[in-house]
């Protein structure tokens, strides 16, 4: 490669790299001004870490893309067929093969380490002791929710007990289930970890909230109880089913309200009391 052309290619790659960085910065800015082109603002604790990884991969792959394409397009222009110039006769270069095998391998394994560490942190780590547990039932085509009631304990449930009279499959022998109350919306206090106990009555549905950066399939015949997150932004969100579940799938959603702890306590108390009145008995206390 001549000196002139290597300088040109360097300048080219510099320009494109700058453009990429600038577009990334615009994207960051776009989060605040308009959400037409980028992720919705993150509204959960773990979501922030996920975004960090997403940005990391974005810049990594963006850099790789720009570098390879600049070199590629440069080759395509420089080595176009011209009269009197014959192609180089080469079957390859083993040292190069080794280099471009080793470097991607190292990058990919490193990336796996980072991503897997986060996977464990976000999803698999035990939730804090003050976590609130909420039951979620998905069905064709809607969601309903169950809160632990006055005792703060959702109690035992079994997927085999799910039926019309017992939508959440609560264990009738467990007194902790007696004061549970149901809700059509998912009301959550801000900055408090919540764990969802996911059940489906018919087909596979999903628990998907893009602002919280969470997705989990809800599988009939089993209970999935490892998904937890901490909302960090007040506001209304929509819980969406994101697993094709039939003709009404496109409209299977539920309202999520993230409110202050005070508002939540008030709402919780009212709902709890109403449920007890409706059931016509006093709540059975379990410590």
């Amino acid at each position: 490669m001549s000196k002139q052309s290597s300088r040109t290619s360097l300048a080219l790659s510099a320009i494109v790299t700058l453009a990429l960085i600038a577009s990334g910065a615009c994207a960051h800015a776009a989060v605040r001004t308009s959400d037409l082109w980028w992720m919705p603002e993150v509204a959960s604790k773990g979501g922030k870490d996920i975004d960090q990884l997403t940005y990391f991969i974005y810049y990594l792959t963006g850099g790789v893309f720009v570098l390879t394409q600049v070199v590629y397009v440069y080759f395509l222009i420089k080595y176009r067929s011209r009269k009197g110039i014959r192609a180089t006769y080469s079957h390859g270069n083993n040292r190069l093969e080794l280099v471009w095998t080793a470097i991607p391998t190292a990058i990919f394994i490193g990336l796996w380490g980072y991503s897997n560490h986060l996977w464990w942190d976000v999803l698999h780590a035990p939730s804090p002791p003050d976590t609130m547990e909420v039951g979620v039932l998905a069905y064709q085509f809607g969601f309903s929710f169950q809160y632990p009631g006055a005792d703060g304990n959702l109690g035992q449930s079994d997927v085999k007990l799910i039926g019309n009279n017992n939508p959440f499959g609560n264990d009738p022998n467990d007194t902790a289930t007696k004061d549970n109350f149901q809700s059509g919306i998912l009301e959550l206090p801000i900055n408090k970890p919540v764990r969802v106990r996911l059940n489906s009555r018919d087909v596979i549905h999903a628990f998907y909230v893009p602002q919280f950066r969470v997705y989990q399939d809800i599988v009939p015949g089993r209970t999935i109880d490892w998904l937890w997150f901490t909302p960090t932004q007040l506001g209304s969100y929509q819980l969406a089913c994101n697993q094709l579940c039939g003709s009404g799938h496109y409209n299977m959603k539920a309202q999520i309200e993230v409110v202050s702890q005070e508002d939540f306590d008030k709402w919780y108390k009212e709902k709890s009391a109403a449920a007890i009145t409706a059931a016509g008995n006093t709540p059975a206390r379990s410590k």
Binding site: S34, D35, L36, W37, W38, P40, I57, Y58, L60, T61, V64, Q69, Y72, F75, L76, Y79, R86, Y89, S90, H91, G92, N93, L96, W100, P104, F108, I109, L111, W112, S115, N116, L118, W119, W120, Q140, S200, D202, V203, I204, P210, Q211, R213, V214, Y215, D217, V219, P220, G221, R222, Q238, N242, Q243, L244, C245, G246, S247, H249, Y250, N251, K253
Partner: protein, 590 residues
Amino acid sequence: MSQTIAHPEASEVESSHGHHAELSFFRKYIWSEDHKMIALQYLFASMFFLLVGGLLAMGVRYQLAFPGVPVPIIGSFLPSWLVTSNGAFQPGGYNALFTMHATVMVFLVIMPFLIGVFGNFLIPLKIGAPDMAFPFFNALSFWLFLFSGFILLSSFFAPTGFPASGWTSYAPLSSHAQYNGTQLGQSCWCVGLFVNGLASIAGAANYITTIINMRAPGMKMFRLPLPIWALFITAFLLLLAVPVLSAAAAMLFCDLNFGTSFFSASNYGQPLLWQHLFWFFGHPEVYIMILPAMGLVSEIISVNSRKPIFGYKAMVFAMVAIGVLGFIVWGHHMFVSGMNLLLSATFSFSTMVIAVPSAIKTFNWMGTVWGGSIKYTTAMCFALAFVSMFVIGGLSGIFMAATPVDLFIHHTYFIVAHIHYVLFGGSLFGVFGAIYFWYPKMFGRMMNETWGKIHFVLAFIFFNCTFYPMHNLGLNGMMRRIADPTQYDHLRSQQPVNVFITLSAFALGLSTIPFLINFFYSMFRGEKAPMNPWKSTTLEWTVPWPAPHGNFETVPTIYHGPYEYSVPGMEEDYLPQNQPAPDTVRLAAH
């Protein structure tokens, strides 16, 4: 090994050739056992199905941009399971549209294009064989394939219409009529895929046998052209993966019709079993749909760069690695399915590892154009675009391979963008390039280059306008498979993007018109093709058109590897595989 294999005597070939001239119309064009005619049958059938799949895609895009708006002109003629009384798509009908779009494109377009057309056409011609090992099987394979297509599409006329549970048909939605509402359609889907699987298995067994046993003298394995290597590895993937799908489809059929409960949530059934079986097939399937395209593209790039392929053996080993690793990555479709979280970590690792051979291939393609003397034919343009589009599709895959990011973008439009970059910008661009490249040997005439370039430019621009913004939609949280995005607060602001994508998609659909006109016009009026229009080194360019049944007048002998271009010391810049190098010339080892 190849020297000792059974190879019909030249006289035998000629006698069958002589016999061939008296074949009836039926034996020549309908039940043909000539691999070249079968390839053309596959070609016309796949093009028909491409139009069907494309029209279904137009329906999908129409609904996403204009939900609830009656379909102009044809709306009132569509059946009631698809549209409401005023002619707008119903949500359930929309589900049927995308289900069949994907099923048709995967099983009736991309696979038969790559494997049926180019596998059949190129394998015997490129290895110096008179035909496939089992010509009867080969013909049977085509007719089974065609039959499977009609079974799949026949449910259009059923009262409940097409299946509507996605091309992945997750149970128990797919396995219970009360949930999916289309028992007949879903049953047709099971039977269609089962029959389609038989066609694939018959084809794969044929390809493997042919490549192992029928290579011409001197055609050692490491002298095989890369498309043949790719098809060879693909045939193994087919043979190992497709039976799993066939079994799963049969089980699903029983669940649906006979009350078994393999996949139901009760009676000891297991919904996730379907996903494991489906993706155990489904992930090798992804490579089944890209490996042959990689092989075809490698050859087009080498020929048009007038350079040997860079790192021939690295290319072969990378494809073998993809083939092997392809069987242990299926769980990356299931990170958030309810599968054990430790398994997700494992599958994430294997998925990261499988990205390495893809990277190796990309670097080798770049190495091939480096120092070349590039001729920008239409075929070359598509092949070069393949590389860039595959890079985008590969890099976007890394986002989903990282489990925490998948937690966010799983089942969003990000994945829709990803698969279309790999399957359209990748596989289908490879198919277009290969059609322009091998057309002269198929029909004896050249396709028009100007119209080819127009097709390429339009397809390239509108492909990117259609699919690139889908990444943004996905990051914005747009779910895939929803009939009406405006139902969601966070998606309403995205609707202009959806409209833009739809208009681009319509333009992309229209961009195939110059291709189709060029294709059919050139068949009759195109410039007559010389024997070797691209000055290529491989054996198919040494036979005249029309090649006789039996292909080669005398059995060729092979003296060296497939890509000897621009060898120093030679006047011509290519050295065909059946010509020994002059004594004055030393070929470099590859």
